[in-house]
Symmetry: C2
């Protein structure tokens, strides 16, 4: 944004003017998008495919802090976290609808930045923005995205279909987004104490990007398809590894063993955890927003899995009687417990 | 709610506990709902049909005032206003996803009331709740509903397909929801001045219900289908008649003539307007939230239309050069102007 140019008040456009401004350059990319923005509803064509639908809401002060989250990144993240839910069903995201509530403290230029990120992510994932709602809010910014995707019925992978002695796998690495958040929070606190201190973020670019601009792992879905590996169960990791492993195990009626030394953690995550006196494994188990894929695969696919660099085998399922355990580096066994994000705690009223 | 029983804090359930509590009684009704709540995405089957998608966001303090809107009504309204968008495409609503952000000032009992209204509306319209997101907010209540519906491709009615010399029709009557809102606002102001004064709402039950518990006009869609009348263009009236008439005319590249004496207005709407020194026609033209259907029909269907009690012919389209005019009771002609709701005005930051 050019700081010298006066900013445009949203009130000068009106609701319909704003919608026209924000949607005028949309070009629909998918054959399934028959009619996008501009009528009472979008019209989609999903003839031979099953339709996948997921939705997420992002609230200022709960899910993001505009003190350090650039609006463009926020827009990008709102789309990629939703795309992640469709990939987690082994599907392909095709359309989103986007509802936004914002107060008049946002200028048109600020809203344009947000949409720049949204359209960038839509292009990256091949998604059409086909509808939405734009309204005012009394206080903060509120985003709600609904994503619609497709899959052949036989390809869909649920959470409750893991089997005994399946391999438990994750893509990429874990805990990085959470460490990125901790770093941003630390630098914000420093800035609040002394606004003259410049934030020190160098050497931590990767974990910052994992927090601010996470990517949905469509590449992993495609690699698995190419290698003819069909997961028996899958979900994306938004609330932390342990919470999601327990989800799949509970829904599938299984126990599990997870090995601490197999959990993939990036060097920057380790280093940040050390600097903050935290345990990197705990961050991987309980820190959220990684948007990596967690999935189970039959033991027979073991050799094929080894050829995929971006996938780690972190444990296996077992009969339900054997419980849910974490085997630590030193060989001790602990019960795996869900922590994840607890949104409804006592402090955030 | 039993006022003597202590209320349950949301924090005692946690996010997953709350979702389980709120969704445990869902029984999917539609053949197209293959998998509802409980995975990364819902799975739908729309084989031979086109998929219709629309979304709406409701923000406390902007779209509703909990000082006089019962939570159960709010839940009902959130569903019916979305269903209305699918009917306005000449389709049938089948599924919704629902995202809710709320602060800890809401008890579990309050959330249950909201969901009671949501499920009541889902039953009324034959809709399945198939997914959503539940989160906390720092301040007010925020609801976002995405509705998914179906139609045969040949049945879909858009906004931009009206033709010259079509009849312009509306269902039901207009301005009632706006008058209901004015009454509620008046009684709230009285209450704020003197909390001992009981609100005086008697004789105005109908306009209150139009504001608090609007119905989507699926019945009109079915009647038109039974009578073999296919509208050439259609939309629902959420922002006031004039704004919506201009939408259809602009999108279809047409002019129009609307006759004031043909605009259907209920007796209670007239009476309330008189009491408040307002013009009932202006309320019908510019007051929002009626959720009646506005549609255009070929002149050839005139006789068939006359047999339908709930439909009024209020004017006709004309060549674009003839402009958009309102012919008043006394025979004067004015230019029709959009007013509707202006959300982004200067006052609501």
């Amino acid at each position: 944004m050019n700081k010298n140019k006066p900013l445009t008040k949203l009130s000068t456009l009106g609701e319909f003017g704003l919608i026209r401004h924000l949607t005028k350059n949309i070009k629909l990319k998918n054959a399934s998008s028959l009619k996008g923005v501009g009528d009472d509803a979008a019209v989609l064509d999903y003839r031979d495919k099953r339709v996948l639908v997921s939705t997420d809401m992002l609230i200022e002060g709960v899910h993001f802090d505009l003190a350090y989250v650039p609006l463009k990144h926020l827009g990008y993240k709102a789309v990629s976290t939703n795309a992640s839910d469709i990939y987690a069903m082994n599907g392909t995201p095709r359309q989103i609808t986007l509802s936004i509530a914002m107060s008049n403290r946002f200028s048109l230029e600020a809203v344009d930045e947000l949409y720049e990120g949204i359209y960038l992510a839509c292009d990256h994932y091949g998604i059409d923005l086909v509808g939405g709602d734009t309204t005012s809010s009394r206080t903060g910014l509120c985003l709600s995205v609904t994503v619609i995707g497709e899959a052949d019925e036989a390809d869909i992978v649920y959470r409750d279909t893991a089997r005994e002695n399946d391999l438990i796998c994750v893509s990429g690495n874990l805990g990085a987004a959470y460490m990125g958040l901790q770093l941003l929070e630390r630098e914000k606190a420093v800035f609040n104490t002394d606004p003259n201190v410049q934030p020190d973020l160098s050497g931590y670019e990767y974990i910052l990007e994992r927090q601010l601009k996470p990517e949905a792992r469509g590449d992993i879905v495609r690699i698995l398809r190419d290698k003819k590996i069909k997961p028996t169960a899958m979900m994306d990791i938004s609330d932390g590894l342990s919470s999601e492993v327990l989800h799949i195990c509970h829904d599938s009626g299984l126990g599990c063993r997870i090995y601490e030394d197999k959990i993939p953690i990036d060097y920057q995550t380790f280093r940040m955890a050390e600097e903050l006196n935290m345990n990197a494994t705990v961050c991987a188990l309980s820190g959220g927003e990684d948007y990596e894929l967690l999935f189970t695969v039959p033991l027979a696919d073991y050799d094929k899995l080894l050829t995929i660099e971006e996938i780690s085998i972190i444990g296996h399922t077992c009969p339900p009687g054997e419980g849910h355990s974490l085997v630590t580096r030193d060989g001790n066994t602990f019960e795996l417990k869900a922590q994840g994000w607890v949104n409804f705690n006592e402090t955030n009223d």
